[in-house]
């Protein structure tokens, strides 16, 4: 099987050059015999496109600027921009600082937890216990404050509690090797249960007014909440860790194949443990935010948030199988859901329809690429069949 062009640029459908895939293909194919090649061509698997392109020399995928401008993340951002523009034009009173303020205040908990969740899902795991950790910190905060502890100490203890909760998940998943889905369903019940044990069905509301006012305050006349500064710092930190450090790139490798990641020297257990520490800590921050924003500490704060966060992350282009995703895409996903919900609310669409929109968006976002790929594949294989063999 000869490469008709003689050039070695084989590009994956994803747009990532894969020299190794091409090399492996050449080594395994027996020279002279065309049969394995034809079989391969008629039944292209998921990664089959790269193989067929060695035969027909049709470079697939994009490179350079096109790759960034037409990628999955970019599409999400375009959709977000279109929705925002549309809402500004069509819906009265949407384009105002008030909108910006309330929209951001509403999405901050989802946004915060979505950051570590992105890393966790990219590494091929999941964490369903995040909302329960937020609830637990909220309950703890209420009880400690009620007990007369200074607020600064309360906040430190709450963050530490989140860290411990995350470490608990991390030990079970990373070091004992238990399946994360099952473990975090367990800790979802456990942490929510502990929240109930801590605070019962009481609610604590008398937090220092200065602090609660700070958490709903805006920067000047822009409508941007002051807390957003901290959130942006976290976003940048997570983006740098994921996209510009060896640790972050290791997570993608981990998501593709744990064995391979081990062999290239990634400490799989340690990486996973650190991720769960991060989800625990950030969930605690989200719990603190939730408590002070609504100035109410209750055991059922933020319940059900885990599914909303995961929906937003997946909508943002992170693959549930791991190995694929980015922080900008997730940001666009979170903001898209937030904007649509807020716009529909302003447009007096009843709140009940909103969850239909969230669900449909999630399904469309995962089904559409597969359908598009299937159509492309069908077209490609028809062309391959009709083309003469080299």
């Amino acid at each position: 099987m000869s490469d008709p062009t003689g050039s070695g640029t084989i590009v994956h459908p994803d747009g990532e050059p894969s020299e190794t895939a091409a090399k492996g293909r050449r080594m395994t194919a027996s020279p002279g015999s065309t049969r394995p090649g034809t079989e391969k061509r008629q039944k292209p698997g998921r990664r089959g496109a790269a193989d067929t392109s060695t035969v027909l020399a049709v470079p697939k995928g994009r490179t350079g600027a096109a790759r960034i401008l037409l990628g999955r993340d970019a599409v999400m951002i375009y959709v977000l921009l279109v929705v925002v523009l549309y809402a500004c034009i069509v819906i009265p009173r949407f384009a105002s600082p008030v909108t910006v303020g309330f929209l951001l205040l509403d999405v901050i908990p989802t946004l915060l937890i979505a950051l570590p969740m992105t890393l966790v899902i990219i590494s091929g795991e999941i964490d369903l216990s995040v909302a329960s950790i937020a609830g637990l910190t909220s309950a703890l905060m209420g009880v400690l404050w009620q007990g007369g502890m200074p607020i600064a100490l309360v906040l430190v203890i709450c963050v530490l509690a989140g860290l411990v909760a995350g470490a608990f998940n991390g030990v079970l998943i990373a070091y004992l090797g238990l399946p994360s889905l099952a473990v975090t369903i367990g800790t979802l019940a456990l942490f929510r249960g502990l929240a109930l044990v801590v605070i019962g069905d009481n609610a604590v509301a008398n937090f220092p007014p200065g602090l609660t006012a700070f958490f709903t305050s805006k920067i000047g006349g822009t409508g941007i909440p002051t807390v957003m500064v901290g959130v942006v710092v976290l976003i940048v930190a997570f983006a740098i860790v994921l996209h510009f450090t060896p640790f972050g790139r290791g997570l993608f490798a981990l998501g593709y194949s744990k064995e391979a990641a081990t062999f290239v020297g990634i400490d799989v257990a340690r990486s996973k443990f650190l991720l769960y520490l991060a989800t625990g800590t950030v969930s605690a921050l989200a719990g603190i935010y939730w408590t002070l924003r609504y100035s109410s500490a209750r055991s059922d704060n933020a319940s059900g948030l885990e599914l909303a966060v995961i929906a937003a992350v997946l909508l943002g282009g992170v693959s549930i199988f791991g190995g694929k995703g980015s922080i900008p895409g997730v940001l666009a996903g979170v903001l898209l859901i937030g904007t649509i919900n807020y716009a529909l609310k302003l447009d007096r669409v009843s709140e009940v329809v909103l969850i239909i929109v969230t669900g449909s968006l999630l399904i469309i976002s995962v089904v559409a690429p597969n359908v598009a790929a299937a159509i492309k594949q069908a077209r490609h294989s028809r062309r391959v069949r009709s083309a003469p063999l080299p």
Binding site: I126, L172, I185, A189, I356, G359, I363, N370
Partner: protein, 348 residues
């Protein structure tokens, strides 16, 4: 070589050896930990509070477990194929509200027809899940998370603020969860029959065995000639139908059905299956185990009340149980792997 020794071994079994292996197979049952936990829980509670095992006490225990049991059985089918269905709570809610509406719209419809409508409705919703997952080849976790929202949204839009109360339904329908046969509530008997049918189906029929094969290794199952797509679709349809049945029973058991009926139930259902020894990544576990897991989870609530333990502890204990089940499953898996390694080493 090794083939000979293997085929010869069962031909001349030492009698003592056989007995030990029978005992061994009981000890190796995946359901054993959950059965033990249930027995211990019930014994301890009954010893401390004799009222716990009174006739009414047992009836309440069974009634509480019924709906979760049926849902757990359906969920088990899906989990065994290495999928998951998070939308069952929403399906149950839609069907329960649908049942209420049917009775209001057509009060003279025979009850059995209402059951038929409910099960069919659930099966259709399950088929939506199954088709999206098998045809579009998208992970079940994502799709059913989406349909969890969509079905719930449809339920909200349909119900709005409306609620149907027990008074809107014929008395005979409500009596299903009051009347008993031989001390067992009628709806519990329905659940037991469902568990038995599905258990036999999973143990003794080809499609049932296929589900295990698919869950162990989908690729191998496909190469082996198992119609994977059709079987997985079937698992989702059956799960939907069972959630539909659970929805109808919910309407019979509880006073009101409305927009939020059954929300948040999905994780309880998965928890029941996991506690009952169903491996979350498919390929092993039984519906009987899942049903006992459901019984255990609901019994804990009653037991804590009977023992006057603070009710707030209940959810934390459920969480610990789930973690214990996962750890036990892991230990069993490690031991089985070690045994296999030793056996292979001997054969070489």
């Amino acid at each position: 070589m090794s083939l000979d020794s293997k085929s010869a071994a069962p031909a001349h079994p030492a009698p003592g050896h056989q007995r030990r292996s029978a005992l061994g197979s009981v000890l190796k049952l995946r359901e054993l930990p959950v059965i033990l936990a249930l027995v211990i829980l019930v014994t301890v509670t009954a010893a401390l509070n004799p009222l716990f095992l009174s006739e009414q006490g047992i009836k309440d225990l069974l009634l509480n477990a019924t709906i979760l049991m049926i849902l757990a059985v359906g969920q088990t089918l899906v989990i065994i194929t290495r999928n998951i269905d998070l939308s069952v709570g929403s399906i149950l809610g839609l069907v329960a509200f649908g049942t209420g509406s049917v009775f209001v719209a057509a009060p003279n419809l025979p009850i059995i027809a209402v059951f038929g409508i409910g099960i069919l409705f659930g099966a259709v919703l399950g088929a939506v899940n199954g088709l999206l997952i098998t045809v579009a080849k998208v992970p079940a976790l994502v799709i059913t998370l989406g349909t969890l929202y969509i079905f719930r949204g449809i339920n909200n839009a349909w119900a709005g603020g409306t609620q149907y109360f027990a008074g809107d339904r014929p008395e005979a329908f409500g009596n299903l969860s009051v009347d008993t046969i031989l001390g067992f509530p009628v709806i519990t008997l329905i659940a037991v029959v469902v568990v038995a049918i599905v258990a036999v189906y999973m143990l003794g029929t080809r499609p049932g065995r296929d589900l295990y094969a698919i869950g162990s290794d989908p690729e191998a199952a496909r190469l082996f000639g198992i119609p994977v797509t059709r079987r997985v679709l079937m698992a989702f349809v059956v799960n939907g139908a069972l959630a539909g049945l659970a929805g109808v029973l919910y309407a019979s058991r509880f006073n009101s059905v409305g927009a939020t009926t059954g929300s948040g139930l999905e994780l309880d259902v998965v928890a029941a299956a996991v506690v009952g020894g169903v491996a979350i990544f498919g390929g092993s576990g039984t519906v009987v185990g899942a049903a006992i897991g459901a019984l255990l989870l609901t019994t804990i609530t009653s037991a804590l009340t009977a023992l006057r333990v603070d009710k707030f502890w209940q959810q934390a204990i459920v969480g610990i149980l789930i973690l214990a089940a996962v750890v036990i499953d892991r230990i069993a898996g490690v031991r089985a792997a070690r045994k296999l390694r030793i056996a292979e080493a001997r054969n070489v």
